[in-house]
């Protein structure tokens, strides 16, 4: 069980200065290695002595992984760019304000100074049974302690649960899905670019991982196409306290309207499933409709179809419904 210690277990630390070196190290060390970005998720695991990697590969010295660059069709954000850098970047703020809004809602200023956007989207589940070192499905065991008659599951999933009911805690993930971002992954077999919504996986696909990253893979950058530059955005995060807290539910929307008619829309929520959920059904239903109370109500009702609340998280159903409703109704013009 989790016992907080002052000193983390010993490991061998590597600090490569290029992506190629990092990939080489990952290839040589295999599954016993651990990739360290900002360390906010990693050091929790290490201090609780639940994850005990032999080798830690710290990406902080790889300059090519940092910074925001303008590319032909939008922006490319290095995976090791801190959340604060994302929040303060002028072009990001001007054209893709959805992302800085989401990034700024994550944790606290100190954590955003250290935490990276790559780490934020790749972080592990925060279910306390799992983080506490219990042998649950996600930890390789054969039970979900949160999905039991006495399990404490107030923060857990209402959608797409498959044995495990943990949720994805990222704030930037739904914003990136709404912006149609692409995740650039370097693997031993070369570079791979996937849509943000395909980067995340649920327990039905792989119960021990939150993303498609396999051992030896590295998220190197996030590309945001210009498609949604300057669109109307909405981000809202509901949490138990104003700072330094994970979302109970958050919502991110990008809209393009003509007059009051919705011409294009992308909508995603997080905190309701083990992966951020793009609401394609809602998008299709509101397309071509006026952005008004009636359409917003329709969107909210559609969003919660199929929701299966657990014993203590029934409140997430109306919460999600109302957040989606507000995302349609209250989006800034």
């Amino acid at each position: 069980m989790a016992v907080i210690h002052d000193v983390i277990p010993a490991f061998e630390l590597f600090q490569p200065t290029t992506v190629d070196d990092a990939l080489g190290l990952l290839g040589r060390q295999g599954e016993k290695s651990w990739v360290l970005a900002g360390g906010l998720d990693s050091f929790d695991w290490f201090k609780d002595r639940i994850k005990r990697p032999d080798v830690v590969i710290d990406l902080s010295q790889i300059k090519e992984l940092r910074g925001v660059r303008t590319v032909d069709d939008g922006l490319e954000i290095g995976a090791m760019t801190t959340l604060t850098e994302v929040v303060r970047h002028p072009i990001v703020r001007e054209k893709y304000s959805l992302l800085p809004n989401a990034a700024e809602s994550a944790a606290s200023p100190q954590i955003r100074n250290q935490g990276t956007i790559g780490g934020n989207v790749s972080q592990d589940a925060r279910c306390w049974y799992y983080r506490g070192g219990w042998p649950c499905y996600r930890a390789g065991g054969n039970i979900c302690y949160a999905d039991t008659p006495t399990g404490l599951n107030r923060e857990h999933a209402i959608l797409d649960a498959d044995r495990c009911v943990a949720v994805n805690p990222s704030d930037t993930a739904p914003a990136l899905i709404a912006l149609d971002a692409k995740m650039v992954i370097r693997t031993p077999r070369g570079e791979r670019v996937v849509n943000a919504e395909d980067y995340f996986i649920g327990p039905a696909i792989d119960i021990t991982r939150m993303t498609i990253l396999r051992p030896g893979d590295l998220l190197t950058a996030i590309r945001i196409p210009s498609t949604w530059a300057g669109a109307q955005f909405y981000f809202e995060k509901v949490r138990d306290r104003s700072v330094w807290d994970f979302a109970l539910v958050n919502v991110a929307a990008a809209l393009v309207t003509s007059g009051s008619t919705i011409e294009r829309i992308r909508l995603a929520v997080n905190g309701v499933a083990a992966h951020p959920v793009r609401l394609k059904g809602v998008e299709a239903a509101v397309l071509g409709k006026p952005r008004n109370e009636e359409t917003a109500e329709l969107a909210g009702q559609l969003a919660i179809r199929g929701a299966q609340p657990l014993q203590y998280n029934g409140y997430k159903v109306p919460l999600m419904r109302n957040l989606v409703k507000r995302a349609i109704r209250d989006v800034a013009a």
């Binding site: 042998p135 065991g141 054969n142 302690y145 999905d147 039991t148 996986i201 039905a204 696909i205 792989d206």
Partner: protein, 286 residues
């Protein structure tokens, strides 16, 4: 290499959680090694099969051209069970070797199909087939002893021709029965751990320790099926066994194969009126 993976329960007890997945490679490689060794043995060392003369004074003219071996019901069961087994193996082990897909629902649906087909088989075999024909008996043991002695160069009377099922078939059926009942018995309870339309989920039905051993048994039997299915397919496609495989597809085998390999006293076919016999054949044997 550990056979079982252990974990510490929330109450501090060491509990088994499942079988070590590396064993699936042991099973797969074991099955392949068996068939390679067997193929080499048959090709280079095996002696020609000699069997004692038939113990019956048989009027071979009374045996139909096509000897009915498997009823339509039995063949349908075998096909459905095989499909369910393939689905179960693929959904269970592809994710373990890195092929990621949402497998749980397909797995329990295939498990239900397997369970229903096995229940049907038990009832069908018990009341409509010769139930005891598939279980090893004293004659099988005696013949096996003779065959082993002769293979080792010792003097022994020639073994009798087979009954409906050779001892190898009977032993295979026995092992598959045990492994099948293990996966079905544990699998039915494991469905209480996942959400299905049929059962109310209750992860507290058993203690962590009992659940753990149930998962271990399910995994062991499942992994065992990798080797068992590999071996089964191998024998099904061996040239000298193809007539048996065809009989599982078409329901009958030829009179020549029947007379060559089977003892009509142990598996009487002379009196049967095969549904597969064509009218002209009936006339010919009348």
């Amino acid at each position: 290499m550990d056979l079982i993976e252990w974990a510490q329960s929330p109450w501090g007890r060491q509990i088994p959680i499942h079988v070590s997945w590396s064993l699936l490679w042991v099973s797969a490689i074991g099955g392949l090694v068996f068939l390679i060794v067997h193929a080499i043995y048959v090709r280079y060392w095996a002696k020609p099969v000699t069997a004692a003369a038939d113990s019956s004074t048989l009027d071979t003219a009374r045996i139909p051209e096509r000897v009915a071996r498997h009823s339509l019901g039995a063949r349908l069961f075998h096909g459905i069970m095989a499909l369910a087994m393939f689905a179960l193996l693929l959904t269970a082990f592809l994710p373990k070797v890195g092929v990621r897909f949402a497998w749980v629902t397909y797995h329990w649906i295939a498990g239900i199909v397997l369970t229903i087909s096995v229940i049907y088989h038990i009832i069908h075999a018990s009341f409509w087939l010769d139930f005891w024909s598939i279980w090893p008996n004293n004659e099988d043991m005696e013949d096996a002893s003779r065959r082993v002695s002769r293979a080792l160069g010792q003097s022994a009377p020639p073994p009798r021709k087979f009954a409906k099922y050779p001892l190898e078939n009977k032993l295979y059926h026995l092992v598959v029965t045990l492994a099948g009942l293990a996966v079905i018995g544990t699998g039915v309870f494991m469905m209480k751990r996942v959400h299905t339309p049929f059962l109310t989920r209750n992860p507290y039905l058993f203690s962590d320790m009992t659940w753990g051993w149930m998962y271990v048994l399910h995994g062991l039997a499942g992994i065992g099926f990798i080797a068992l299915v590999t071996i089964h397919i191998y024998f099904a496609i061996r040239p000298e066994k193809l007539f048996i495989t065809k009989s599982m597809i078409f329901g009958w085998m030829s009179r020549e194969h029947y007379l060559e390999h089977y003892d009509p006293r142990r598996w009487p076919a002379a009196e049967q009126v095969s549904a597969a016999v064509r009218p002209e054949s009936k006339k010919a044997t009348a």
